[in-house]
Amino acid sequence: MSAPVQMPRRTFLQLTGVSAAGLVLGFDALGSLAHADTATFEPSGFIRIDGDGATTLWVTKVEMGQGINTALPMILAEELDADWKRVGIRYAKYDPKRYGSMDTGGSYAVRGSWNPLRKAGAAARAMLVAAAAKRWSVEPGTCRTEAGAVIHDASRRRLGYGDLVADASALPVPKEPVLKDAKDYRLLNRSTPRFDIPGKTDGSARYSLDFRIEGLLFAAIERCPTHGGKLAKFDAARALALPGVKHVVPLERGVAVVATDTWTAMQARRALQVTWDHGSHAQLDSATIAAQFKAAARQEGVRHRSTGDFAAAQARSEHKLEADYHVPYVAHAPMEPQNATAHVSGDRCRLWAPVQLPSWAVPEVAKAIGVPAENIDLVIPLVGGAFGRRLFHDYAIEAALVSKAIQAPVQVVWAREDDMRGGFYRPASLHRMSAGVSAGRLTAFRHRVVAPSISLQLLPEEVKNGVDENISDGLTDWPYAVADYRAEHVQSDPGISVLWFRSVWSSQNPFGSEGFMDECAAAAGADPLAFRLELLQDKPRHAAVLRFVAEKAGWGRKLPKGRGMGLAVHASFGSYAAMVAEVSAENGVPRVHRAVIALDCGQVVNPDTVRAQLEGAVVFGLSAALDCEFTFANGATVEGNFDGHRILRLPDVPVIEAHVLSSSEKPGGVGEPGVPVVAPAVANALFAATGKRWRRMPFSRGPA
């Protein structure tokens, strides 16, 4: 493998913590570690065992905080029966031919890797067993493996994997190796410390923004403030006159200033004199957007699911309910601002960028600079948070374009304000909910989503007949047994660029449906838990996780005056989540005191990581529910930094009790499924506490 970065081995070892933890942790891109042994066993792109038994497992998905750098190796090591104490990891350089898809998103890393990694581990183990059996002249079936060794009990012989690397390398890789029974797992479903954490406590973890190379320049980009606007003309004389400024490069929607350091580039950017073509959205503001959604909500939408006859069933119902739920635009705002480093030299481009979907980013970058995709040499360093924002790669294209123009390595750094105002938000939406209730039972239910389709903006060819299947989350799979049900989408796009956000449509559709379920329960005179369970009789996993949190939270117990409890359940990304929130609202200001959340994600890999993801999901969901809203005026985003984008701070964080329900079902997603239940559980708890409905996020603006 090539080593595009030359770094002294001592520095590499210091940075990667070999001496401290006895573990190898590094990037392929940093070059191979030196080996004392010539013989190694590499039965696949994922595994290498050295002659001394040291086992290296490759992480082939993007680590953005979700802990796959440990979860994926655990899957390999389980089937391999590796000695975990001798396992080290390396992050794979982008090489889909060698590793398969390295795209990371949709809470799919474990789910998508589950079978390939188990097979890779089991195949390697079978080869090591075959090598030992041959050497001992015994049947492979009489051997077993444990902690990096093959053991023949009958003759009390034992060979470490390291002793077998040469023999095993000569054997064919079995196509369909035998996989373990879950009952025999030694490593999976046991909390295992993450490989990446020590380096994240001493400053040695290296993110894309920390990438340094000889001669690296830094770029800041002055951007058109209006959405959809572009560069008309500019005068760079004053910027170029500043010390440290090297180049100015015009782009379609902005002007890049390249300097010897980030701060100089950021300062010089302000010295540019730019005239913008503000485009067709120059008058756009939040009131216009709200009015547009409200008008669109009167239309019938594109049908996503329809069973029975909603309209007739509602007409027959004793109580007819209708309510609108509102979700604002919100920025992902990962703590590491958008950035990328590119070095274009002739027709080749070396790229270091925090992209989640390299299979999309690489050809797009190649197209932008006019080179073949195979000429892009990409490394994806540790990612400082993603939440969906790194699914798009605009910053990588910018770095490549600027580097192409100056033929030097350049790091494009977005200021926080660029990230907040520069586009890509969770879509705003209006959920027009309608239902019928008769004799204490839910008789009809309709969910009409009014929102801009993400797919229509970014991947229009994926949308057939106007049906954006992406929006169906929580609509087509709405779990309650109601015969007359209808879900539809009304496309309404104000023109603000939107992008998948942690939990995507499940981050908002269940706010409407689970909030409204409580309104239906109230109309039926029923307890919200009992009302749901009655309709979930053929959905055992929904019902079980909901019962679990209700019991843990003490559902129905008497609360202090002014407090209320609310709950919600939702399945997404192959997993089942439920939450109970306990809240109060003094003087109309909501405060969450306790959140009890549980996730049934099938087979669990690393339980502590799942708990961490649930804790994070509650905080992420609470930020969006309580205080986050992006507004627009004169075609531009108003909120520019963390004073306007008020995400939760430590004193605001409630008691969070996160529970992981393990099962023998196949693995489900972990990163996203916790978020959807947070907002509706809190909204329902606020109703219980105040008697008022909270149908508009963020709740800090009061009930509505």
């Binding site: 401290a20 953005m64 905080g65 979700q66 802990g67 410390p193 993450r194 990446d196 954490i197 994240k200 406590t201 001493d202 400053g203 040695s204 973890a205 290296r206 923004l209 920390d210 340094r212 830094f218 010390p243 010897t260 350091d261 980030t262 701060w263 100089t264 950021m266 705002a333 990962p334 703590m335 590491e336 601002p337 540790l382 990612v383 400082g384 948070g385 993603a386 939440f387 750094v413 926080r416 502590d608 961490a612 993801q613 804790e615 994070g616 999901a617 509650v618 905080v619 992420f620 930020s623 930094n641 963390f642 004073d643 995400i647 939760l648 701070r649 430590l650 004193p651 964080v653 969070i656």
Partner: protein
Amino acid sequence: MPSYSLKVNGATLAVEAAAEMPLLWVLRDKLGMTGTKYGCGQSLCGACTVHVDGEAVRACQLPVGELGARAVTTIEGLSADRSHPVQKAWIEAQVPQCGYCQSGQIMSAAALLAKKPHATDAEIDEAMAGNLCRCGTYVRIRQAIRNAANAGAR
């Protein structure tokens, strides 16, 4: 361009920089010490927290020309081997997710415990309110600081 002699992590380092350049960018772009992070540039997120004469300071708001002879400690200098009680508590509680904000979180927590080894929950809330974490690791941050405070008490 003025030159400065900075005391960083016990070493004296010579650097040439504009007087107004914030310490954050001197550390990251001039000295190659990238453990201190850029998050907001406005003292709103705490990702750039370092110690200046033992006080937690946002490096994005401190012009290098105003630093003088004061001693700077960054995350790289908190300990040589992750042995600082806060680092140990962080690893024990498995705090970081993406990890990007954690240098700042750790530096804020270390400054707090240096002054108040037995910090109360209210003192933890106050000291940590300026450090944002988008992954939402706050529950573990709080627990890790409590654990470090208790370890200090023993």
